[in-house]
Symmetry: D2
Subunit: 292 residues, 4 copies
């Protein structure tokens, strides 16, 4: 199958490479030249525009930063829509707004182009290892056309509903993480202030109801006040804004998500946007008189 990739950043680059290694013919484009040479080694051919990518592909993956970027690469000058033949399938793996996703799918459908939304979780490590979790919204038939490709990118592929549903599930994921990260941060800072041995506390609590991936994998960073990636604060904040927008559209009240989003806005201004999202602990540390 001839596959296109639009976006070769931290996520898209390794994903295109994995698709090529899995035997797909991959044509790709990126806004900036970047890692072209590296990708050429595994057989990825570079094209001069999203439209060129679309012309060369049966399935086009878009994986860029935010809603306006997806709109630009799909519908802007030399965009995917210009080059895509009738019957092409676009798989947007960016994390963007569910309602914008539905609107983009309608515009593509007018041109006979199908669309899936397929945002991922698992971070840059998952993109490199091909172990992403992929939440797919759209028609089951379209998912079947893309399944072998998606299987080269991730280990869990869940069809979660009609177009936009993948993005909605991703939003739910980020909302749950907001509580998970800030809750663990509160616990770890309280443990520190109470003079407890944090590693021992984590071990003692991990067998019970407080058990979580965040507790097991991020408490140590909060203790050390050092937040290597992981998943960036700035990206989690972007995703929470999408979730809060969805909350607004659906009339959902999300107090913790709203709190974490505004804490992250401050963290970004203080230069911590590229920290791992566990850096929300900085706010709790700082308010409690610890270095943050």
């Amino acid at each position: 199958m001839r596959v296109g990739f639009v976006g070769l950043g931290t996520m898209g680059g390794p994903m295109a490479a994995n698709a090529a290694r899995a035997g797909f013919e991959v044509t790709a484009w990126n806004r900036t030249p970047g890692r072209g040479a590296e990708l050429a080694d595994v057989g990825v051919r570079l094209a001069p525009s999203p439209a060129h990518v679309a012309r060369a592909s049966e399935v086009v993956v878009t994986i860029v930063s935010d809603t306006p970027d997806v709109e630009a690469v799909l519908f802007g000058p030399d965009g995917v829509a210009e080059g895509a033949a009738h019957g092409t399938l676009v798989v947007d793996m960016s994390t963007i707004s569910p309602s914008a996703t539905r609107a983009f799918a309608e515009r593509l459908a007018e041109r006979g182009v199908a669309m899936l939304d397929a945002p991922v979780s698992g971070g840059s490590e998952g993109a490199q290892k091909g172990t992403l979790s992929i939440f797919v919204g759209g028609e089951a038939d379209d998912l079947e056309r893309a399944r072998s490709l998606l299987a080269s990118l991730g280990t869990t592929i869940t069809h979660v509903g009609p177009i936009g549903s993948g993005q909605a599930v991703k939003a739910v994921n980020q909302v749950i993480l907001a509580g998970g990260y800030l809750g663990v941060a509160e616990g770890i800072v309280l443990a520190m202030k109470a003079g407890l041995d944090v590693e021992q506390v984590v071990a003692a609590l991990s067998g019970g109801a407080a058990q979580s991936w965040v507790l097991s994998n991020r408490a140590g960073r909060m203790l050390a006040n050092d937040y290597p990636l992981g998943f960036k604060v700035a990206l989690h904040r972007k995703d929470l804004r999408i979730a809060l927008e969805l909350a607004g559209e659906t009339g959902t009240t999300l107090p913790i998500s709203a709190l974490v989003e505004t804490i992250e806005a401050g963290l970004i201004a203080r230069g911590h946007g590229d920290d791992d999202v566990s850096a929300v602990a900085r706010a709790i540390r700082q308010l409690s008189g610890l270095a943050g």
Copy 2:
């Protein structure tokens, strides 16, 4: 070893039975008669006061509701302190204030009585099955004296530091759960409002960073708006008040814990104090226009 139990409620009753089944000579007292007959069947002898229990025991477990109850059974008329011989060990397995714990230990020490704090997690199910997690604060020697007894009550016994530390770890546990429960509640309500299939969402997210015991075990209750036990809202609120008191003593700022505590105060007033703590989802549901 001769063992005493003061408190035979939802937790203490099954724990005393487990100790008796494990071969300890158990003498016990409860404020109300309650399940005496049932316990007699497994060999637990009832005594007319905490002082009587203490006289008959080398190790006395106290497991009652709150800080003033512990003070009353230890130091009130006919309390443990009156009956305890020099060298007795008190193991308080209630969840109470760490600073009150330290004060009680000092008062007992003046009488030659040692003390451990050993609060538990695992709920009534863990008490019945003998699978509790036990967080122990106090001297290592004292823990060794109590270890075989504790091993009959729980599966994980962690020595977390000097006297009071067990209670501090329990407080940290409840703080982390506050974020865990309310964060999952926000996610589940958003999923419902966005028209997603909640069970599928839970399955899709459980492989990633959002994975937690709460997500796996309590999302379904939030969806159904039905909250069988588990662990009561009223008890989690009591524990959060202890955690917030510890936060006050140590100068720790805990926004989510404070929010969940005040939400739970409202839930109790609305008659939901005996719901499982996952009922914090009621607040998010209600604010979002769903039945709550």
Copy 3:
């Protein structure tokens, strides 16, 4: 002076009438016909498009709902920019994003058209009586050109800085109100639950540090759980989103504003978007077991 009005809604309609009554030659346009006849009585002439309004006017007031509406009436087909002669002054009295305002001003400047941002507070009552407070951002010279017009619309005109500053001040206003409304709601609900006479409480507290316009004017509505206008929940939420966007751009953490915005999202879904903003008390009432 020949003056144009683009937008004849709850705010723009009475403002255009006041300008006409003050002797200005007023040309106006609205998306829907609406109150044209009524305005004709006071001498307002209706035009078929924003471009027509601009052609007929030296100063054009735009007062529409949100950022995209301002963009549409300024730069869309038959927009103000098409009709405005070199030297025209646009005064945007809508409440929109400060950064979008600066972008619009730059685009107008390329055509030789000057711009002020001049959002107002005082609600529909202030618009009718001509007693609005007006926060003006832009060049002092441009304000002088518009001053007599603004004086026909409001009683307090404050020049608060360069273009966009008026919108930023309006955002600050809505942020302060978020704390004011929700704080008073918490106090009033606590008073009710504690069995106090709320009117007496308001009287007793109004002489001290708790004194505020909200306490004096909105506590009664919160007690009665009845929220006639005033200023709509849906509009306050829109304005808080602008404030939170500004907070994101400037790196400001606003916990209460974030909480109130997400509460208001839920209120709107529950059908209370047209209530006065004091209806945030519904959330506190409901969480506390009162009708809300």
Copy 4:
């Protein structure tokens, strides 16, 4: 009338002096010697215990720090209850728990001693100038007996209901202030980050719905990050804990009050407990990357 004062701190000292200046025969006691000499100049006689004060007085004012202090001076060794003759009136002007107040009144009633609760607002400045606002709970007859004394201490005396009601009103006051202070802090920090002239913003907004005593009197301190008294953070936190306890007893959910209380706990740990309560702005400043 022979009047006693128990407690001669920042509040009680100047209040006893005002009572003496107004012509009352004042006998007083304080835990530490302190300002005895100063008070002797205006005719206050010192007594060696609360019991001695009670023996010498028809009306005894207690004004100490917290609930346990009131209990100690009333019912401890050499306490007011020991010395008070049948028919004595106790007026507790401390800020303490409403439910404890009711319990104390019952215990005093058993001895034929009546009680009013009469907490104040207005701070140390109001205590010195005799301009306090006084919220009185209890029997109307008892208030009449104390009215001339209270009139020498404050300018507004409001009878707000049965015993405990004064404390409940005071709690409501502190709850409303929590939203007022933190809301203004959010607005001022946003104004600073947006590059606005804060003094001008305050002037522009003070005519509208955002108007409040806090905005008019405390915005400047938040801008300067300098918080002279006023009313101490540590005392406001103590009062919020009373309010949250009342909220717990009555089943009221108070999100902002809970947030401000936990922010203040952190401020106290960071050495800012003696700052004016407007120092809650430190938290918003700090989270937003400003000195705090």
